[in-house]
């Protein structure tokens, strides 16, 4: 062995090839099988992709680095089930490019956040966290009240469709209009949002003001959608209890 290495270390491209082989095996063994995951993990029938408004909120969540302090992955541990809710399934994030499972909980996990608090609470909490949670160390986000830029939304949906998220042609062409309509329950387009994304999509003025479409609308819509895109985790947990 030593003799072999004695000779190998005289040949630079030999070392290069050996390093590439040695460093490839582990990755191939662990990653490649995950691409056959469709055969082992079912994507639930009721799983819906994010609406354009929620997707815009998700981009804000990413832009502000929320994932650095909040995970979205409930582990299968008793205390996490008691604190947050059903453990997260692989299929729940099947449409998430990128996933936002996170790695640190400076703040709590958000995978089951949707519906836990009112829209008003979220708006107040984002503008001034310490006004509702005095001991919070979360940054304040007063600039969320600015208008939402919807110019890229159509192209965003089209790009996601190309990497496998089930957005169809009308969803893509109506993306910017749907984002407006989801925050205006009385508008003509509101029915179109429900028609395209399903009846359990929340259509309301998330920031309390239907006249303006703001980043706050998008972010709150996204936060309220967390954990509500499919019923599967709740059903699996209920089956287990029986």
């Amino acid at each position: 062995m030593l003799k072999l290495h004695y000779n190998l270390e005289k040949v630079s491209m030999g070392l290069v090839a050996a390093i590439i082989v040695a460093a490839s095996i582990g990755g191939i063994v662990e990653i490649a099988p995950l691409f056959t995951i469709d055969e082992t993990v079912d994507v639930p029938d009721d799983l819906r992709p994010h609406t354009p408004l929620e997707l815009a909120g998700r981009e804000i969540y990413i832009r502000e680095g929320c994932y650095a302090c909040h995970s979205q992955m409930v582990r299968s541990l008793a205390d996490e089930l008691d604190r947050y809710g059903p453990y997260s399934l692989a299929s729940e994030s099947a449409y998430d490019h990128p996933m936002l499972w996170g790695s640190k909980r400076t703040g709590p996990d958000l995978a089951r956040l949707g519906g836990k608090y009112s829209d008003d609470w979220h708006v107040q909490h984002l503008i001034d966290p310490r006004s509702v949670v005095p001991a919070s160390i979360m940054p304040a986000y007063p600039w969320m009240t600015r208008s939402l830029d919807t110019k890229l939304l159509g192209d965003s949906l089209a790009t996601l469709a190309r990497v496998g998220v089930p957005y169809n042609a009308p969803m893509i062409s109506e993306a910017a209009a749907d984002a407006q309509a989801q925050s205006r329950p009385d508008s003509d387009g509101a029915d179109g949002v429900l028609e395209r994304y399903g009846n359990n999509v929340a259509v309301r003025a998330f920031d309390g003001d239907p006249s303006r479409l703001t980043e706050m609308d998008a972010l709150v819509a996204y936060l309220q959608s967390l954990g509500t895109l499919t019923e599967a985790p709740y059903e699996i947990l209920a089956e287990g209890d029986q």
Partner: protein, 541 residues
């Protein structure tokens, strides 16, 4: 820079600078506004600056012919300067974000001073800015000395260094403007990622071409590590960053991976950025500078071989230990845990080899703060690899994951191991490259050493306490079977540790500032160049 280049090399440099200007113009014109346009202007400004520097010196006299019989150290000197600049930026932002966790309203609530945007500036600034520049700069030095040959050409080292720093600049300014891929330690946007690939290919080519000119039959072990660093980082970077831009004229993109695949790819990348950037590269540094400084040969050649291939083969498996109890398939978690534990063997073989090398030179460790930096680095390397294997064990991970224990572990590696070995290497290199016996202020090295050690210990111990407290509070039940603590109670319990961590970080930063000042003073008082020479004269160009 210009005085070390021949007239034809200056002309090539000028041409490349013009191409950079065109690239910047194209980006700015295509994007019109937003982050990508701002980044186009940055490339444009860099290109204009280079045109000015090269253009004003284009007809200066040729450098002496004898330069080909010497090592090319100007890029190393520039790389060390950038290392120190990024050290202050990265550590400065680190102290800032640490303080924000204790005083959340310490800085005004405007977008670019928000914790979530500052935090990746800290991580990228340290890992890529500080660590990456240190690796590139020292690799040029080590490669030449161990090959006893001059760098293969004089243009590509500058292309690598300037291009790499442009990448770092694009990355951190992008975060501040709200542009990020959100993939941890790979947040830079798609065009920055593509640019880094170009830089990296140049780097690898330069490395191989210089090795091909070596006047030593064997490739020294430090180079194996530097090569593993270059090759595997390229592989990780490309696979993890595969993404489709929303438009060719916008910074936004979506990764091709989603959900559980994305999580596995991300942590395969994330942990191996630790392995092949923060470990392999710096082991290369250790394997060269520790023997040089202590005047002792590496204790065991066989152990070097075993630990090198052990690290290269085992590390790549362990990323999945970041995903215990998650929706990642159980078998993949188990593989990650198993290999993490096995990884302790080659890791401790390296640490042990380094410490055993110091046998017979312990009096130097006592008297020489520079060597002491390297010794402490080897000790912290041993400690944090043990801790890493321990934290990867599933039940331990159930407590530690998501807590500040992980943060403490990372900093025991980055402050205790990575930064210490970098400072040891810098204090060895800077006097040598300045033609001097010693640094301008040897006392300042002592001050730096003790500030660094104290800062690291305060930081790491505070985070251990923080993490274990958090983990225990989250899982505590009262006698009625209900959770004992609300989440926010665990946040309140962190306050003293977050304050201590800020103090520890500030001490470490102070040491780095002293180091930068000392290096500047030494370089300003330079008495010449490095005295050593390549073995055989190179043929004239």
């Amino acid at each position: 820079m210009t005085s070390t280049l021949s007239i034809s090399e200056r002309q090539i440099g000028l041409l490349l600078s013009v191409l950079l200007i065109l690239l910047g113009l194209t980006m700015a014109a295509a994007a019109r506004h937003g982050v990508m346009a701002a980044h186009g202007f940055m490339a444009l400004a860099l290109g204009l600056g280079l045109v000015f520097i090269l253009g004003s010196a284009i007809y200066d006299p040729e450098p002496p012919k004898a330069r080909m019989t010497r090592y090319y150290d100007a890029p190393t000197r520039f790389g060390i300067m950038m290392t120190l600049v990024w050290a202050m930026i990265g550590m400065g932002f680190g102290v800032w974000v640490a303080a924000l966790l204790y005083w959340p309203e310490a800085t005004p609530a405007v977008p670019w001073t928000s914790f979530g945007r500052l935090r990746p500036v800290h991580t990228t600034g340290i890992i890529f800015g500080f660590g990456g520049n240190a690796l590139i700069a020292t690799s040029f030095h080590v490669l030449q000395r161990t090959s006893r040959a001059r760098l293969a050409d004089s243009i590509s080292p500058w292309f690598v260094l300037l291009g790499y720093n442009l990448f770092c600049l694009w990355a951190v300014t992008g975060y501040l403007m709200g542009s990020t891929q959100s993939k941890e330690y790979a947040e830079a946007e798609w065009y920055a990622d593509l640019w880094l690939v170009v830089v990296w290919v140049t780097y690898f080519t330069l490395y191989i071409r210089t090795l091909a000119r070596r006047n030593e039959p064997h490739i020294y072990v430090a180079n194996w590590y530097y090569m593993a660093f270059i090759l595997v980082v390229a592989m990780l970077h490309i696979v993890n960053n595969l993404a489709l831009p929303v438009r060719w004229t916008a910074a936004e993109s979506f990764p091709v991976w989603s959900g559980v695949q994305d999580a596995m790819v991300q942590w395969w990348y994330g942990h191996n950025a630790v392995a092949f950037l923060l470990t392999a590269g710096f082991l290369g540094m250790l394997y060269y500078f520790l023997p040089v400084r202590s005047g002792r040969p590496i204790w065991s050649y066989r152990l070097s071989i075993v630990s090198f291939w052990g690290i290269t083969f085992f590390y790549i498996w362990v990323g999945s230990h970041h995903l215990h109890y998650t929706a990642l398939p159980y078998w993949a978690q188990t593989l990650g845990m198993t290999f993490s534990v096995m990884l302790l063997v080659p890791s401790w073989a390296s640490a042990g080899n380094a410490i055993a090398t110091l046998n017979g030179a312990w009096h130097k460790v006592r008297d020489d703060a520079t060597l002491r930096f390297m010794f402490v680095a080897a000790v912290f390397y041993g400690l944090s690899t043990f801790e890493g294997s321990f934290l990867a064990i599933r039940p331990v991970n159930s407590l530690s994951h998501y807590t500040d224990w992980t943060v403490g572990h990372v900093h025991s590696g980055t402050l205790g191991w990575v930064a210490m070995i970098v400072f040891g290497a810098i204090y060895t290199l800077v006097p040598q490259l300045s033609g001097r016996e010693a640094m301008a202020s040897p006392r300042a090295i002592e001050w730096h050493f003790w500030l660094a050690v104290t800062g690291t210990l305060i930081y790491v111990v505070a985070m251990w306490n923080a993490g274990i407290t958090q983990g225990l509070m989250w899982r505590a039940y009262d006698e009625n079977g209900a959770l004992s603590y609300s989440f926010v109670e665990s946040v309140e319990a962190m306050a003293p540790y977050y304050l201590l961590r800020t103090i520890g970080g500030a001490l470490f930063l102070t040491g780095a500032v002293i180091c930068a000042w000392n290096c500047r003073a030494t370089m300003r008082a330079a008495m010449g160049e490095a005295a050593d020479r390549p073995l055989a004269p190179q043929p004239a160009e």
